[in-house]
Symmetry: C2
Amino acid sequence: MNKYYLMAPGPTPVPPAVLLAMAQPIIHHRTPEYEALFVEIRAGLKRLFQTAQDVIPFTASGTGSMEAAVVSTLSAGETVLVLCAAKFGERWEEICQAYGVRAIPLEAPFGETVPPERFAVALREHPEARAVLMQHSESSTGVLHDVEGIAAVTRTSGAILMVDAVSSLGIADLQMDAWGVDVVIAGSQKGLMLPPGLSFCALSDRAWERVKTSRLPKYYFDIAAEHRSLRKNEAHFTPAVSIMVGLREVLRMIEAEGLSRVFERHERLARATRAGVEALGLDLFATSRPSPALTAAVAPEGVDSEAVLSRYSTSHNITIAGGQGEMKGKVFRLGHMGYVGDFDVLTALGGLEQVLHELGYPVAFGAAVGAAQKVFAERG
Amino acid sequence: MNKYYLMAPGPTPVPPAVLLAMAQPIIHHRTPEYEALFVEIRAGLKRLFQTAQDVIPFTASGTGSMEAAVVSTLSAGETVLVLCAAKFGERWEEICQAYGVRAIPLEAPFGETVPPERFAVALREHPEARAVLMQHSESSTGVLHDVEGIAAVTRTSGAILMVDAVSSLGIADLQMDAWGVDVVIAGSQKGLMLPPGLSFCALSDRAWERVKTSRLPKYYFDIAAEHRSLRKNEAHFTPAVSIMVGLREVLRMIEAEGLSRVFERHERLARATRAGVEALGLDLFATSRPSPALTAAVAPEGVDSEAVLSRYSTSHNITIAGGQGEMKGKVFRLGHMGYVGDFDVLTALGGLEQVLHELGYPVAFGAAVGAAQKVFAERG
């Protein structure tokens, strides 16, 4: 027996009850049963997105919904500002580039963020900017960008704010309507605790106005067409039925726990993980605003972070993630999002102690685990 | 207890062993375990598509892969011919329209097909045509179009042939390489017996040449980018991991049965269903080349086909499908694709007898069932 642990920053573990719900015989998507399911999901997604707007599902990974947001609200030749502080910021740029949208990057070193003030300045310099595109939690660096602060800037500007919340929805607080965020995008395989294959897009009134004038070509990712079907309680194209069945279960679980408690749990798991990593003398990669979704740690001097994740896998059958792009070899990432509890953090940190020891780095066994336990004990 | 039967022309029932395989704890897509799975799937898909080419998976419904084929091989302003004999032919037209590709429809009345000779004539009239777009099995009319015959025409022309085989792959013989088909598209939720959420696209050398010159904008559906990742045994974007796990099981099942036996089974199920329908005095909607995937029947004089499917559902908890567009109220459709055996056909036909009786149409109980059994008995 060699028990498997999935501790990467997505895909994340799916709760057994959800796996079993999805293993039921498949139902047809044009039946009263599916309609009832869709009604419940539509209402639950609105609460989860903290919005009164409809949330549009797409059968696609999160990138598909990012593309849907771009092609449904923008036109060729238009200008947008993009928060670029790692891999997923670059994805926004690539999508814009593919469709002839001019993307001006607002850059920060990897591991840092771009403060709202810089967006205020950039929007004054570029009054033609039609949108600001950003991530909420940047999975490649472990930074949580300041959506609330940047929304306060865009709200009174001519630019709409599009937020990739693929790895923050159901993890970090994101008050779409209250903060004035115009587009929120999420995926199934992170905080939503589902297999990958579904993603979502919600639009503010301001963003829906843009949909009317957008001239980029689109078919599968046409948000307006999908929205017309949704209002008839249908999917425009065959939906990923089994993942939708799982989604109903997940939404019920989140409602039962309560959204604010879900956010607190993730914050606590993250604090404990950071305390554990630092107790071993390792640096966090995020210099400020560390994300509650994952912890990116810098491998200690002389240790290749690729060796850390390889050891996690080969010695302990635990999947974590390494660094991407220029962070490869330097950074490793521990996910603590979705179906994760206190003792999963102890497993991840206990694993880290053993892995570092195996790689010849001096470790006081129990140091990281103990530091996390102290954080957990604060609760009582 | 009210047992549920899914007998629509897609989504189709998922075998219990496949449901349970997909219910296992989710694995990460960047692990040796997933790599081994992907290697097996890639080889199995080639055999299923009867091609030496790579088969590219997309996390999207079948329509997504249709769009991928268009945006990756064509350019704005180019001309294509489209076989239009019902709803899914119109989908090809809509995709072309969305991207500024000029689609010339070659039409046939619903329930009929367009013979290869008409394509030969049209290609002489339109030497500028860059592609011919068609369905193999048209799910809305129950007609199997003549891919082999049309490929014989396109093979020596300047036009590539793109075939939507979403509801024929693993059901009707489609020899991609031997017949000279340039693009074959399939989905997970028909002959592949999986939940919806995955689709596939395979390209001939001729089609790959077109990819080099295509200038339509694309990102998520960029076949060339996805292919570069596939050659490294990776997915370009997070794949629908759980459905891929199911796909491995399904490919093993199909290999064990043998592809030619799979085709024979569907042909037999279709012949039995047609015999049953006709034994009740009903007409088939397909006037020639009826599809082995489904049977579209014309509701008898005075009976609304919407009432037929509604009765199937409310009285017997069986989902079948009705007519789409102008066929609504006139046609009902029985699927017999994928995880379907002889006694499923008896259930569908027994249900039909009871439904028609309930609707006041005179029925000799056992007539349809008996006619199907005669077809099954021929085997021995």
